[in-house]
Every structure is written in structure tokens, then in C-alpha cells.
């Protein structure tokens, strides 16, 4: 059923390898600015949940990166689809839609994993090393799985690059700022917290931060991410099927 996924994944990895140093630089710029501006300058002397603001910020940035970089696979798909027309080569090949989704989602997750490691290295350069235990990585991978699958599904529904940019502006950017990345969600009014509970990133930030601080994360965070992942994968497979028309 998923024979052929490796070709999809292999292609994305070849492209990633070709642009590796450019991507590493690009992945470093925003987090570095956040760390300098918010963590080092503005957050100096600030204590949040018993930790320095820099310590609080790094797990949030990791959660945000796992979302933005896995979601960025959608842009790669659209370049392949609208600009290079490579998607037609995949549609004409004897592979299932599930195999296609599987390959692209794994590529998105790999991309997120590499970008996440860049944040941890930057954090270490700022003198912050937290506990990067299996629960930390589990939350990271689940979050990137959710957003990579969402990206693949949405990439099939949109009609142009402009739509892709709009999707990022309306879905990803608000979530990046409100999903517990830069401040504790508890600082917001209760009604806002209730709304933010529905965002996957809120749960990913919670789980990643708790595990990085060596505290047992809430199982509910993992269950919600693990529940969303198959839903978005099914959405992605249906969207790929629809894209043929």
C-alpha cells in the first residue's frame, strides 16, 4: 500500500541536501533574533515558571520550529506541483496516494527535526542546555507529524503560491505567537485559554517545555497530538486523491 514512499522521501532529501547550508542559515536567523531580542535583551532578569526567560523561550522555539518547518513541506510540494510539474510524475507512477503522503510527511518531519536541532545548538551557545529526553522528542515528532500531514493536505487544495502564503499568514503565524511559544498561555484571560486549547501547538509547547524542564508532561497533550495525526493523514490522502481532478 505504501510501496514507492521511499522515492518521494528520497527526492525531498536530495533537494534538502542540495540546499543544506542555505537552509541551516535560514533556520538559524529567526530563532537567533528571538533569542537575542526576547531572550537575552528584553527577558534579562525575567523569571517565568521558575526559570529564566531564555530557558522558557527555547522549548517554545523548538515547538514552534517543529510546526513551521514541517508545515513548510507544503511550499516544497507546491513548487514541485505548480512550477516543476513533478507532481504529475508521481500521479502517473504506480504508487498509491497513501505512499505519496507518507513520503512527503516523513520529509516534512525530517526537515523539522534538523531545524529543531539548530535551535538546540543555538540555545547551547547561549548557555542553555535542558533535558532533551525521549518524551521531549516524542512531543516534537508528534507535533511535526500533525503539521506535515496538515501541510500535505492543504497543499493539494490550494491553487497557487499566493494561496500557500495566505495559509501561512492565517494559520501558522497566529499559532506561532499564541500557542505558548513566547509566554505562558495562563497569562491570558480564561476565555482566550479555552480557545487556545484547541491549537495543537499549545499542547506541543506544553509537552516539550515540561519534558525539557524535567517535569512529567501531561498525557493529555500527547493524546491530543496523537489523535490529530491520523485525522490529518486521512485528510491529506483524501486531498491528494481530489487533486487528480
Amino acid at each position: 500500500m505504501i510501496r514507492g514512499w521511499s522515492a518521494i522521501y528520497f527526492r525531498e532529501m536530495l533537494i534538502l541536501r542540495r540546499r543544506f547550508f542555505k537552509l541551516i542559515s535560514a533556520w538559524s536567523v529567526s530563532p537567533l533574533l528571538y533569542l537575542i531580542a526576547f531572550g537575552y535583551a528584553m527577558g534579562k532578569g525575567v523569571v517565568v515558571q521558575g526559570h529564566t526567560y531564555l530557558e522558557f523561550l527555547i522549548p517554545g522555539l523548538v515547538a514552534m520550529t517543529s510546526m513551521t518547518q514541517s508545515f513548510a513541506i507544503g511550499s516544497e510540494i507546491n513548487i514541485a506541483r505548480f512550477y516543476w510539474h513533478i507532481f504529475e510524475e508521481f500521479q502517473a507512477a504506480p504508487i498509491s496516494n497513501t505512499a505519496y503522503v507518507f513520503g512527503e510527511v516523513l520529509a516534512g518531519m525530517t526537515r523539522a527535526l534538523l531545524a529543531g536541532c539548530v535551535i538546540l545548538v543555538l540555545g547551547a551557545l547561549f548557555g542553555v542546555v535542558l533535558s532533551y529526553n525521549p518524551l521531549f522528542w516524542l512531543a516534537f515528532l508528534l507535533n511535526s507529524l500533525v503539521f506535515a500531514a496538515l501541510a500535505v493536505g492543504l497543499a493539494m487544495l490550494i491553487k497557487s503560491h499566493a494561496d500557500q502564503a495566505m495559509m501561512t499568514s492565517f494559520v501558522i503565524t497566529p499559532m506561532a505567537f499564541l500557542g505558548g511559544t513566547f509566554f505562558p498561555v495562563e497569562h491570558l484571560p480564561e476565555w482566550a485559554q479555552k480557545i487556545l486549547w484547541f491549537l495543537p501547538l499549545t499542547h506541543a509547547s506544553d509537552a516539550i517545555r515540561a519534558s525539557a524542564f524535567g517535569v512529567m508532561p501531561e498525557a493529555g497533550n500527547y493524546l491530543i497530538l496523537a489523535g490529530l495525526a491520523p485525522l490529518f493523514i486521512v485528510f491529506a490522502v483524501i486531498s491528494v486523491n481530489k487533486a487528480r481532478n
Binding site: H85, P94, I95, S96
Partner: protein, 281 residues
């Protein structure tokens, strides 16, 4: 007789526009079957449906006995596709593009390696294997598309306007490659609006107009139905053609009419015009 391609009553509408109005044809193994028609006749829609890129509204398509609806993966394994536009990964090398294709078709690593060597030699790109696709010329990219389509040894090769945008010399060399493919036993389905391409390559030609096949036959038969020789003459700012069975008849006709005439052999464009009342290009 087992047909390699069997199409029955293929229909497709885009909103209110009928792209295909019930197309049916059959192609024998090893045959080059060409679809000739003007832009918008339904050539690309047919090829997109036959390669699984677009769904038909109705009709049956079978390749080597496999149905596109009932056995889509087995069906897709039967063919290679050379699309009208270049759909290669420009930032990857010639070899990388081919390896990805081999993996998509479940080929073993060693088999991919051997086949790439064989095909790059075949299309004259053996020394460009590590070259990025974006550095290739238009003709080299077309040849690479053919090599990619042949990598998994398909039984059927679909070519959608393969020589569009190429200069005449490169077009001729491409025709040589297509003849070679047929020589190795593959069945070729070709769409084109180049008369000479269909005449040179096709064993059988179907005239497509407004989503329907008007007629299909061997190019020589289609042409002989209207004559062997043609005279073009300018009448009221329009070129009009007259057809004759022999050169002598044509010359005799010219001798009793006034004006400037051009005597030439009948071609498929004449046959198309006679059948549809329209020009191909």
C-alpha cells in the same frame, strides 16, 4: 487479437465544455498510433486520462489488459509518459532524476544503475549524468524525458506533443529515438499537431476534432482517399487546394486555368482538411 491499448467511449466535460465526446480506439502491440488534431481538439485530455492524471466522466481504458479503474497500480506500471511540458527536477542531476523514477517503479538499485547507463548512452547524454537538469538544452531535456519514461521498460510509451518547441534538426533526432523505441517492441501513443511528425512516425493516425475521432487509418490510406497530388492557388485572398490522382491530371488542370499555382504532393493536412473542414495547425 490482444490489444495493447483499448479505449471505449471515453468522455470528459470541463463545466459545460465537452473535451471528449465518446472516444474509442484500439492499438496493437508494437504499433505507433498518432492522434492528430488542432489545439483544443482533446489530444492532451485523452493522454491525461490514459495516464491517470485526469479522471474521465465515463468510458473504459485498458492497457495490456489492465483497467485503469479496477487495477490502477498495475495499469500505471505498463506505461511511460513523456509530457508536453518538461517536468524534471531542474535542481537535481540527470542521474538523480532517473534514480527517483526507478524507485517510483520499484526497480532494484543495480537494475536502475545498469538501465541508466544503457539509456543515457542511447539518448547521447552519457557524459552529462552528473549535470544539473537546469544546465541542459531544450533538446537534451526532451531526450532525458524519453529516457526517464523508458527506464522501467514500459510496454506503452505515451508522448504528448514530444517535439513542440524544438528546432527541426533536434525534432528529427527525436523521431529517430521514437522509431528506435518502436523497433524494440514498445507500443507508442503519440499526440501531435505537426503533420510531418505524424506522417513520418505513425503506423495509424486518428483525426481528432472537437473531442471526437473523425476517422482513423494508415497515413497513406488517409491521403490516397483524396488523391496523390495537390495544386494550391490563391483565390480571393485565400489559398484553395485542388486534388488529383496523377501529376499529369494536375498539370492538365493547371494548363487550362489562369493564375499562379503550386504543385505538390498531398499530405495529411489535406486529408484532415477534407475530413473536418479545418486545418490542423
Amino acid at each position: 487479437m490482444t490489444y495493447m491499448i483499448e479505449v471505449a467511449n471515453l468522455q470528459k466535460k470541463f463545466n459545460s465544455h465537452t473535451a471528449l465526446a465518446g472516444v474509442s480506439f484500439r492499438v496493437e502491440p508494437g504499433e505507433i498510433y498518432s492522434y492528430l488534431g488542432p489545439n483544443g481538439a482533446g489530444k492532451t485530455t485523452t493522454i491525461r486520462i490514459l495516464t491517470g492524471l485526469t479522471r474521465s466522466d465515463d468510458g473504459i481504458a485498458r492497457l495490456n489488459g489492465y483497467s485503469i479503474n479496477d487495477n490502477p497500480l498495475e495499469y500505471k506500471a505498463q506505461f511511460g509518459l513523456v509530457p508536453q511540458h518538461t517536468n524534471l527536477d531542474a535542481d537535481l542531476s540527470v542521474q538523480e532524476n532517473l534514480v527517483i523514477h526507478g524507485w517510483l517503479y520499484g526497480m532494484a538499485r543495480q537494475e536502475i544503475k545498469l538501465r541508466i547507463d544503457e539509456l543515457l548512452d542511447y539518448i547521447g547524454l552519457i557524459d552529462r549524468r552528473k549535470t544539473l537538469v537546469k544546465r541542459l538544452s531544450g533538446g537534451q531535456k526532451r531526450r532525458l524525458l524519453i529516457a526517464r519514461a523508458l527506464l522501467h521498460r514500459p510496454k506503452v510509451l505515451f508522448l504528448d506533443e514530444p517535439s513542440v518547441g524544438l528546432d527541426p534538426a533536434i525534432r528529427r533526432s527525436l523521431w529517430g529515438v521514437i522509431k528506435k523505441v518502436k523497433g524494440e517492441g514498445a507500443t507508442v501513443f503519440l499526440t501531435t499537431h505537426y503533420i510531418e511528425e505524424a506522417e513520418f512516425l505513425a503506423d495509424r493516425v486518428a483525426f481528432l476534432d472537437a473531442g471526437s475521432i473523425v476517422t482513423e487509418d494508415k497515413p497513406a490510406h488517409l491521403m490516397s482517399q483524396i488523391g496523390e497530388w495537390a495544386i494550391d492557388t490563391l483565390q480571393s485572398k485565400h489559398i484553395r487546394s485542388f486534388y488529383f490522382q496523377t501529376r499529369l491530371e494536375a498539370e492538365k488542370w493547371a494548363s487550362v486555368h489562369e493564375g499562379e499555382f503550386t504543385l505538390r504532393r498531398v499530405n495529411l493536412e489535406d486529408a484532415f482538411l477534407a475530413k473536418t473542414g479545418k486545418k490542423v495547425g
